[in-house]
């Protein structure tokens, strides 16, 4: 289908967000929504100003965001580096796939909250465990997405590659990887959403900073303004990263839809 330029997209998106914020604020002022649980945008903005000045629990707001970003990106980066080759290998070698698949498919749908005690038992309460939890929640999705993408490559295309001498690693590196790149971007976008979702679970492990922790902690004290601010920041950051991925995808796979 036809594409809009990224700028055009961003403008339309901004317009619809502004409209939503306006409606939200108006609904609050008219007491159509409960301001105790859903503070209006203006209050959230005030809280943001507050936390930027004084921090939340001794940590500046910016550091909460950066810490969460660092954790996610670390877990996510590891998931990409390990998940893509593993997924492709499982797709390329069906026997390997069949052997590993039960574990992948077993672990993938497991609520990460339930895994926290095990992760702590085996990996402690440091950053490793938090990153590991994010890693776990994304890597399995990436593995499945990559393996599934491999099985959708045109057989004829693979035959052509084999006829030109591609085998094993060269097949992986020079044929399969680029062939599934458009699909991989989708998988990675979906996986990133999952990883970011897991932030809260990850930051339940002995954390005293991070957006996910902030949201949970503030929630326990009914600081709904902080909760909402955290939600807005989590959502907006997730959205921003997704936009970046979409931009990268357009740049990296100009042939998508035209091969």
């Amino acid at each position: 289908m036809s594409r809009l330029s990224l700028l055009h997209r961003a403008l339309l998106g901004a317009a619809s967000v502004l409209l939503m914020l306006f409606v939200w604020e108006a609904a609050s002022r008219l007491s159509l929504v409960d301001t105790l649980l859903v503070p209006p945008p203006s209050e959230i903005l005030a809280t943001a100003a507050d936390l930027m000045r004084d921090g939340y629990r001794q940590t500046p707001l910016r550091d909460h965001l950066l810490l969460s970003l660092a954790r996610s990106l670390a877990g996510f980066g590891a998931a990409i580096v390990i998940g893509i080759p593993l997924g492709i290998a499982m797709g390329m070698a069906p026997v390997l796939g069949a052997l590993v698949d039960p574990f992948v498919q077993f672990l993938r749908p497991l609520p990460k909250l339930a895994l926290i005690p095990l992760v702590v038992l085996w990996f402690g309460i440091g950053e490793t465990s938090k990153i590991l939890l994010i890693y776990l929640s994304t890597v399995l999705t990436i593995v499945v997405g990559a393996a599934a993408a491999v099985s959708q490559i045109r057989r004829q295309q693979l035959r052509a590659a084999r006829a030109l001498g591609a085998r094993g690693f060269t097949m992986f590196r020079f044929v399969i990887l680029p062939a599934i790149l458009p699909d991989l971007f989708v998988t990675v976008r979906l996986a990133f959403g999952i990883g970011w979702t897991t932030l809260i679970a990850a930051e339940m492990i002995a954390s005293e900073a991070g957006l996910g922790w902030m949201v949970v902690n503030a929630g326990a004290y009914l600081r709904t303004d902080v909760v909402m601010l955290g939600i807005v920041l989590l959502g907006a950051t997730g959205y921003g990263l997704d936009l970046a991925l979409v931009g990268l995808q357009r740049w990296a796979t100009p042939w998508a839809g035209r091969s």
Binding site: A160, R162, A163, G165, A166, V175, P178, A179, P254
Partner: protein, 270 residues
């Protein structure tokens, strides 16, 4: 356009042994869901000697592409036996150049990178494959399109890139499935001539699928005329013309017209 692209010593053996043997092969496709059987080939037998140029001629859907798939090892025969270079059919590699009926270019690679795919994979130094690629690009009329993506090419251009991609490795065996099908007469003629020149230089064995009788007569040492589906060899025709051949000369040759008519009748009967 008269460049000698593929420079290599003449390896043609004095007493050529059969390089490819197809013995009583049948190929039937079974639909995975319905179990419906489609017979593409039945009782197909032929042999190709080293250095020979054989054309496979036959009506649409008689199984020509299937024969190539079998010879490449992409498909297994339902019945019968295939021997290539004295053994069972192995995985194809760049020593066996294949041009598929579709171009099957790598959409993420530029024209240049598509053409140089095999040597780059094989670790051939750039200094070696670059000049070869440049000559092929010129030969294929792709100058100025080196950096184009496949989706920016015309149908005929794509086919020419696919041919260059198979030729660059100077394969000992060339399997080509209607490679010149999407080309206009003039471009096609130039390609045909280049193919013959290259073959002369390398002594490659060629199996060339076409549905164009004149093309077969111009190119081949021998023509295998397949019957309609399921395909088998209905007739084998040794092409009597010497080499090098010139198209204009052939057109006036009485044997050319006679052979052509013979084949037309054969095809009409099959």
């Amino acid at each position: 356009m008269n460049l000698q692209v593929l420079i290599a010593p003449d390896r043609r053996a004095p007493l050529p042994a059969p390089l490819i043997v197809v013995e009583d092969v049948a190929k039937r496709f079974v639909d995975g869901r319905t179990g419906r059987v489609t017979a593409a080939l039945e009782h197909l037998s032929f042999a190709i000697r080293e250095g020979e140029f054989v054309c496979l001629l036959g009506p649409s859907d008689c199984g020509k592409s299937s024969v190539l798939d079998l010879l490449c090892g992409f498909e297994q025969p339902t019945e019968g036996r295939i021997v290539v270079e004295g053994g069972p059919v192995g995985e194809p590699g760049p020593d066996r150049g294949i041009v598929f009926q579709e171009a099957l270019l790598f959409p993420w690679l530029s024209v240049f990178d598509n053409i140089t795919f095999a040597p780059r994979l094989a670790g051939v130094p750039a200094a070696l494959y670059r000049p070869r690629a440049a000559r092929l690009i010129a030969l294929m009329g792709l100058d100025g399109f080196e950096n184009h993506a496949p989706y920016e090419l015309s149908g005929g251009m794509r086919q020419r890139v696919a041919i260059a991609r198979a030729w660059i490795s100077e394969p000992r065996i060339l399997l080509m499935d209607e490679p010149f099908g999407a080309l206009d007469a003039q471009t096609r003629l130039a390609m045909q001539e280049q193919l013959l020149i290259a073959r002369e230089a390398t002594g490659a064995t060629v199996l060339f699928v076409t549905h164009d009788i004149e093309e077969a007569l111009f190119l081949a040492d021998r023509i295998l005329v397949l019957s309609g589906r399921p395909g088998r060899v209905a007739r084998e025709i040794a092409v009597p013309f010497g080499r090098p051949r010139h198209y204009e000369a052939l057109l006036t040759d009485a044997r050319f017209g006679r052979l052509k008519r013979q084949i037309v009748e054969e095809l009409r009967a099959g």
